[in-house]
């Protein structure tokens, strides 16, 4: 019995040693020292002025979810809204701070469809799987009419390949492809028969009356309020400056060039800046870059999450 008690005491002591710091206690960290992680791809554009910052890491989108817990959790993380909200629900010690991309989804036509109108019977390619954002947005906008001829490609890159070749990876003809920028831009350049068919942001606005929401900024609970506020203020200023003058983004992204740039950012900077300069059907930049404090658009966020089948968010998860 004594031995058992001793083992229990040792185990309890070890558990106490391994316990992370109380997340209610803010630690001292300045804006310059904040560790930031974003997925490669569109969100990197928002951090164009941080490329040289050694605390800023860009990683594969699929792997970023592993960072919500553990000692390597960054102070600031950019992920898609629903993943972040789910992570917080599952115990991640983060708060939702801001939304920085408002949708860069489009439907491209391969030029195969004779009547040129997307209707039942046409083959449509989506990327990701049935639980991912493109599929949920698609079904919210277009219902189940196309389900019999929906083709799922693993990622946006494979879907872009379908728009270029007009065939899916099994060699079957496709009519329409649901894609994100800048993959759409690359695909349209390579297939002269392909064209832009629909702007999903516009379709979403027409149906819901709200803005589409994509990438969100999450901040660790133990980052002091003043630091969070200063960081968000700087982020807002830099994003707005780039929207005003896209050359600023081009300059910021020029830290890396050629193959190194594509490996660092997950896109060709010249292509992304080109797309960034274009306007979508709603008159905002085609990359969907923007800045809104999350708490200010809680209603939009909740409406968007309901499209994805997620419950309303609690005010507690927001940065004030």
């Amino acid at each position: 019995m004594k031995k058992l008690l001793a083992i229990l005491i040792v185990l309890l002591a070890l558990t106490a040693c391994g316990r992370p710091a109380d997340n209610g206690d803010a630690r001292e960290v300045s804006v310059e020292d904040l560790t930031i992680v974003t997925p490669k791809g569109a969100p990197v554009l928002a951090f164009y002025d941080q490329i040289g910052n050694e605390n800023y890491t860009r990683v594969a989108a699929d792997a970023i979810g592993a960072l919500w817990t553990g000692d390597n959790s960054p102070d600031v993380m950019v992920v898609d809204l629903s993943s972040g909200v789910n992570a917080i629900k599952n115990g991640a010690e983060y708060k939702l701070a801001a939304i920085i991309t408002f949708g860069n989804f489009y439907v491209g036509s391969t030029g195969h469809d004779d009547d040129g109108v997307m209707n039942e019977g046409d083959t449509v390619v989506l990327f990701g799987n049935e639980n991912m954002l493109p599929n949920k947005i698609w079904h919210y906008l277009y219902g189940t009419d196309f389900d019999e001829n929906l083709v799922y490609e693993a990622d946006a890159q494979s879907a872009a390949a379908d728009l270029i070749s007009g065939k899916d990876l099994e060699g079957n003809d496709v009519d329409y492809v649901f894609l994100a920028q800048p993959a759409l831009f690359v695909a349209l350049k390579k297939n002269e028969n392909a064209s832009l068919y629909a702007d999903i942001q516009e379709e979403y606005r027409n149906k819901s009356g709200l803005d589409m929401i994509q990438a969100a900024v999450f901040v660790r609970n133990d980052v002091p309020e003043e630091t969070v506020s200063e960081f968000l203020s700087r982020l807002e200023t830099s994003i707005n400056a780039a929207i005003e003058n896209p050359e600023l983004a081009a300059e910021g992204l020029s830290v890396y060039t050629d193959e190194e740039a594509t490996a660092q950012y997950g896109f060709n900077p010249a292509v992304v800046v080109n797309v960034f300069k274009q306007k979508n059907a709603l008159g905002i930049n085609a990359m969907g870059l923007g800045y809104k404090k999350a708490i200010d658009i809680k209603a939009d966020i909740d409406a968007f999450l309901s499209v994805l089948g997620l419950p309303e968010t609690s005010e507690e998860i927001y940065v004030r």
Partner: protein
């Protein structure tokens, strides 16, 4: 030479067949051209050295752990039985799922290296333990008569005798380590240079242009061929001695 010609013909035929269907399978000539372009870029060498550096560090760690534990288990059947379930489990766990565990534990930069350790260590452990176990009893008895202790007996007699087994394990796990490192870099896609990160970047920036991906892969194949050649030469010189 005939083998290479056959490989090139097969590759060309595949690119003509698959390429016509989906426009994503490059032909050998375009790939070789782009490989030569990449070999002229400093960034490519930074990727090669970074990948090789992490892979070699991981491999060295697995060598140290694998050989030490292999010697202990090779000498003691009880310990071997205790370690055995862990080794079997490590060999069976899908590599891709472990990478996410290592991202949490070690971060994006070091996760691929730890994956290499975990994949190579069981192979080297088994090679070492097997080599020690297969040393004839007479030699072990003779070394005890000579007064060799546990440490010196293992270091001077058993390890050299088990070396051919360890060498086979090393060679088979080395090429695996290289492939695992690149695959892990593709999955994690960290900001550091690496052949895997370069492949991921090339795929993201232009999904339909598979030439850069094939070119980086060709560079990896060339490195492995060179390593194979060097290890073959080492093996041959050892046989001659």
């Amino acid at each position: 030479m005939l083998g290479l010609l056959l490989l090139a013909t097969l590759w060309q035929a595949l690119s003509m067949y698959i390429g016509q269907k989906t426009m994503v399978f490059p032909d050998p000539l375009s790939t070789i051209k782009y490989t030569l372009y990449l070999l002229g870029r400093p960034y490519t060498y930074r990727c090669i050295f970074s990948t090789m550096g992490k892979m070699l560090t991981g491999f060295a760690i697995s060598m140290v752990i694998g050989v030490i534990l292999g010697v202990i288990a090779g000498n003691n059947g009880f310990i071997e039985k205790i370690i055995s379930p862990t080794i079997i489990t490590l060999r069976a766990i899908p590599t891709a799922s472990l990478i996410y565990v290592f991202i949490v534990l070690a971060g994006f930069r070091l996760a691929p290296m730890f994956l290499v350790v975990l994949i190579c260590f069981p192979i080297i452990y088994e090679g070492t333990a097997g080599g020690i176990r297969n040393i004839p009893d007479q030699i072990i008895k003779a070394s005890k008569v000579d007064g060799s202790g546990y440490f010196m007996g293992n270091l001077r007699i058993k390890l050299p005798l088990a070396f051919p087994y360890i060498l086979v394990a090393m060679l088979s796990s080395f090429s695996l380590a290289f492939k695992i490192e690149i695959m892990a870099e593709v999955i994690t896609g960290g900001s550091n240079p690496g052949l895997g990160s370069a492949i991921l970047g090339a795929r993201s920036s232009d999904p339909t242009n598979m030439i850069p991906i094939f070119a980086y892969s060709l560079i990896a194949v060339m490195i492995m061929l060179m390593i194979d050649l060097v290890s073959g030469l080492i093996g041959r010189s050892r046989d001659l001695n």
